[in-house]
């Protein structure tokens, strides 16, 4: 295999769930591919199970506004070869068919311009490639099968199972994109079975968890792709016709250029629109940065008589999809509930910020860390005119303006939050928890470059192609027209494979 070409057929900005699968598929198809990643490369044993020392997050400052400002950094933003899959929770429910047609169903939100059947065919391909552990029977989808047996339940999962059973709510082992027994990953090697260490969010040290650096990127590299770490794209070059001809990136203070035939922005729901807005590109619709969405991610915590030690085990080992469409819900869409093991620093900060806890009650709660357990949701968020990413006056170290994200719950998010608090409190009471309290929280960075059929209402078409620039594509969570109740990474990877196929088809 020869070295990278300049221009390469394709440059991909970002090596996470959006960029890596398509890098692999395009390289497999014989295209020359260069992936530019702002962060550094890790090997699994580099990761450190310490919440402050873990260095896999995008820690450059973003400005968070609105009535319900969302947290960035370790909450939802990754950096490094692997992107946010380095820290993701690997919790991988599939996108629900009804969620893709929310507007048709409820008159609210947006329909996706892709059919559920087609999306699921790609979801299936992703699951088969990365390996997913899950229950033998999935109660909400009779036909579904998972390759690997479910990982061990931890104490909060057992508590949630108990509480749900008493309330007549169906719950089961969560589908998790990690391997519950050793599995050889093509072109990478042996991914060791999950050791229940509980540090998924600080980076998986055994490669049990699927991150793109141990799955898709090795496949891409085996087919000739080049992944350039610590390479921060700061400019996009175009010819007189407006087509992209290459990118300018910073590597260790040096400005370098890489030419390309087509450019894929896969830098996530914040950095992708921030780059486009800074450069004034692909925004004839005025939609870049609009409709920012974050999942309603309310948590409920309580004390148990038993010693839980919830940092042990896969953190989200139980799921219920019963609330994806709750009866008489009073809101559009719905939410998933998962059991929660959360490490102490994150928990303390969330209790202090999101539950308003301080003084003796905070100290007593943290002193009882080993007896705490939680459950949380991932709930639909409707696109809204009011929720928007814009550029702040302040600039970053590269002279690009920082992102400012305004986010406020609308009536639907508030209704979901309220419903979820009631439901989860009931589950936790039934499970035997005491001193129950709720933590307000939102998660994930979605929308901001949405896809659609109409170039006046969307930034990219259903294939991820910019309506304005024929050889510019976006593939990450910024193209989601609506949030979906399912956590986004599995869907992003599926879209990534689909985007690759559509791109290859368009080349004839």
């Amino acid at each position: 295999m020869s070295g990278p070409k300049d221009p390469a057929d394709v440059v991909i900005v970002g090596s996470g769930a959006g960029g890596a699968p398509l890098a692999a598929r395009l390289a497999q198809a014989g295209l020359s591919v260069v992936v530019l990643e702002a962060g550094r490369a890790f090997s699994p044993l580099d990761h450190v199970p310490d919440e402050l020392a873990a260095d896999i997050y995008w820690m450059e400052e973003r400005l968070s506004g609105g009535a319900d400002p969302t947290a960035f950094g370790a909450n939802n933003s990754g950096m490094g070869v692997g992107g946010s899959t380095l820290h993701w929770g690997a919790f991988c429910p599939r996108p629900d068919k009804r969620d893709l047609m929310l507007r048709s169903e409820t008159g609210q939100g947006e329909d996706w311009p892709i059919s559920h059947d087609e999306l699921i065919s790609y979801v299936d391909a992703v699951e088969r490639f990365v390996g997913v552990s899950g229950p033998a029977r999935y109660p909400w989808d009779a036909d579904r099968r998972y390759e690997l047996p479910a990982v061990a339940r931890n104490a909060p999962a057992e508590a949630m199972a108990r509480g749900c059973e008493r309330l007549g709510i169906t719950a089961t082992d969560a589908p998790a994109a990690l391997v519950s027994r050793d599995r050889v990953q093509p072109h990478w090697g042996r991914r060791h079975a999950c050791i229940n260490c509980g540090t998924c969010h600080q980076g998986c040290r055994t490669a049990a968890k699927a991150s793109t650096d141990t799955t898709w990127l090795p496949l891409a590299v085996a087919h000739g792709a080049e992944v350039r770490a610590e390479s921060r794209v700061i400019d996009i070059e175009r010819d007189h016709a407006g087509r992209v001809t290459g990118v300018v990136y910073d590597r260790g203070g040096e400005r370098l250029r890489q030419g390309c035939g087509a450019l894929f922005l896969c830098a996530g729901g914040i950095e992708t629109p921030r780059l486009l807005l800074n450069l004034g590109l692909a925004n004839s619709s005025g939609q870049v940065g609009r409709n920012f969405m974050a999942h309603v991610a309310t948590q409920v915590w309580g004390r148990f008589d038993a010693e839980m030690r919830m940092n042990r085990g896969y953190p989200s080992s139980l799921i219920t999809e019963d609330m994806v469409r709750a009866e008489n819900a009073g809101h559009a869409g719905g939410y998933l509930i998962q059991s929660l093991g959360v490490m102490p620093v994150t928990l303390a900060a969330n209790l202090a910020r999101g539950a308003g806890l301080w003084g003796a009650p905070l100290v007593a709660m943290i002193n009882d860390y080993n007896r705490l357990g939680g459950i949380g949701i991932n709930g639909e968020c409707l696109p809204s005119e009011d929720n928007r990413l814009t550029l702040a006056e302040e600039t970053d170290a590269f002279g690009l303006r920082k992102a400012r994200i305004n986010f406020s719950y609308g009536p639907n998010e508030q209704a979901i939050d309220l419903h979820a608090r009631r439901t989860m409190t009931a589950i936790w009471e039934a499970a035997g928890a005491r001193d129950i309290l709720a933590v307000a929280r939102s998660a994930h960075t979605i929308g901001t470059c949405r896809m659609g059929r109409d170039g006046d209402r969307a930034v990219v078409d259903a294939d991820g192609r910019s309506f304005d620039i024929e050889n510019l594509f976006v593939c990450d969570n910024s193209i989601f027209p609506s949030a979906l109740a399912a956590n986004p990474a599995l869907t992003i990877m599926a879209l990534s494979l689909r985007t690759a196929d559509r791109f290859l088809a368009s080349r004839g």
Binding site: L45, D46, V48, P49, D50, E51, L52, A53, Y57, W58, M59, E60, E61, R62, L63, S64, P69, G73, A74, N75, S77, A152, A155, E158, H192, C194, I195, N196, G198, T199, R205, T206, E307, R309, N311, R312, G313, M343, P344, V345, L347, A348, A349, N350, L351, A352, R353, G356, L357, W358, G359, A360, L362, V363, I366, N367, Y369, N370, R404, I405
Partner: protein
């Protein structure tokens, strides 16, 4: 009982510490060592790496859970480089709590006139150091001549120095440049200089040793030269005691320290936790008054649960460093400014938060947290809204930095950092169900 390891000077031996150890041995487990080739031990030509490796083996053999190192002259270079290895998570040096340097050789090449170096190397030309040379060496390194048995013992130790070890230090070890490896060390250090010392006097100590420590103090012993353990044993013992006692007082509980030192913990995790356990950088951005308000705020947010001035220093240091968490509230200015403003406003609104009673402080914070922001208007309304936002941030940051402290992890019985060392396979947890613990964890029913 905490341990003190003593590393002697070139030409010395464990015996140079006899009187210092006598003054300290009731309270500490004192372990004076003979460096390879000295004090009658087998002669060996060691470079600095060899000396630090030898020390790692000595410490590793006893596995003390909480200990300090006292390095004199040549021993000081070994002490500093041991502390640097501890910073990197070397398990042999886990539990190191403090460093004392006496007239210490620095990580940089030791300042020494070349003719003197050549002369001292020449003393070994005949295969051993003669009495006259040994006498000259001891007398040149003391401000006033040692008397009686001390002088005889010091001279005898020089005479029995192995020539391979002696020459290796002068030709190589003292010349090796370890500045970048030493870096900046977080452990509390006491740097002692003899007022009458020559090349390794107070100027050299400030210039060559002090920059390697984040939390260091220089003490000058007037009227003494280089052989401080002989010349001023009582004063040296008192300085050591005063320096190590507070460091040991804040040492992690023995079982936690042992777990942290074990092969269940990776070097990176151990290094991060040991660095955090050490004192924070002295840098700060808050005024004295703001710092006092912050201490009062922490006392109110975490009553009785933390050393509030220490946590305030940590928060101030991270503000000064500009080390954020990836975002900030758009309505507030940059973190350091927001904290300065918030603390000033809290102080003013409460008419003296720092000096207020605990009840009054709680009342003030409750008022901020529960302010619905509906009534009033204009500037005052904006200020109240901003205070509510800042208070939420302040709560979260105080909680975050508190729980991240290894001392807090020990307090709550958290062991999630001990899930794997540096080599596969990693142990993780075998048991995940409620009311189960593994043999390496403290037994169920015991305090966490």
């Amino acid at each position: 009982m905490a341990s003190l390891y003593f590393l002697h000077a070139l030409g010395g031996s464990a015996r140079e510490w006899d009187r210092v150890v006598a003054a300290l041995s009731d309270d500490f487990d004192c372990i004076p060592l003979d460096l390879p080739g000295f004090g009658g031990s087998a002669d060996a030509a060691s470079d600095v790496t060899g000396l630090v490796d030898w020390f790692a083996a000595e410490v590793g053999r006893r596995q003390p859970q909480s200990w300090a190192v006292i390095g004199h002259s040549m021993g000081g270079k070994i002490a500093t480089l041991a502390a640097a290895r501890a910073r990197g998570g070397d398990p042999s040096f886990a539990g190191l709590a403090a460093v004392v340097l006496l007239a210490a050789s620095p990580p940089a090449p030791e300042p020494m006139a070349e003719d003197r170096r050549a002369k001292m190397i020449g003393w070994c030309a005949g295969g051993g150091i003669g009495t006259a040379d040994a006498e000259a060496f001891i007398d040149a390194n003391t401000a006033a001549s040692l008397s009686g048995p001390d002088r005889a013992q010091a001279i005898a130790d020089v005479e029995r120095s192995g020539c391979a070890a002696w020459t290796a230090w002068l030709e190589r070890g003292s010349r090796e440049d370890w500045r970048s490896e030493a870096g900046i060390i977080a452990l509390p250090a006491l740097i002692v200089a003899g007022g009458e010392d020559g090349d390794l006097g107070v100027e050299a100590q400030r210039r060559l040793n002090l920059p390697h420590y984040r939390d260091a103090r220089v003490e000058v012993v007037d009227g003494a030269a280089h052989l401080l353990p002989y010349e001023r044993h009582a004063e040296v013992a008192a300085l050591i005691r005063d320096h190590v006692a507070p460091a040991f007082a804040r040492a992690l509980p023995a079982s936690f320290a042992a777990l942290l030192a074990s092969d269940r913990v990776s070097r990176r995790a151990r290094a991060a936790m040991m660095d955090r356990h050490a004192a924070p950088d002295a840098a700060g951005t808050l005024s004295t008054a703001q710092r006092a308000t912050l201490v009062a705020l922490i006392e109110t947010l975490l009553p009785g649960a933390v050393d509030a001035p220490d946590l305030a220093r940590r928060i101030d240091a991270s503000l000064a460093e500009g080390r954020g968490d990836g975002w900030r509230l758009a309505d507030l200015p940059a973190d350091a400014l927001a904290w300065q403003w918030g603390l000033d406003t809290l102080e003013a609104q409460t008419l003296g938060f720092a000096s207020a009673s605990a009840a009054r402080r709680e009342e003030a914070l409750r008022a901020i947290g529960e302010d619905s922001g509906e009534d009033g208007g204009g500037e005052a309304l904006i200020e109240r809204r901003h205070m509510r936002l800042w208070f939420a941030e302040a709560r979260a940051e105080v909680a975050r930095q508190w729980v991240a402290l290894p001392a807090t992890m020990a307090r709550i019985g958290y062991d999630g950092f001990a899930v794997g060392g540096d080599d596969m396979p990693l142990p993780g947890y075998r048991l995940t169900a409620a009311n189960t613990r593994e043999p390496w964890q403290s037994p169920l029913g015991a305090p966490a």
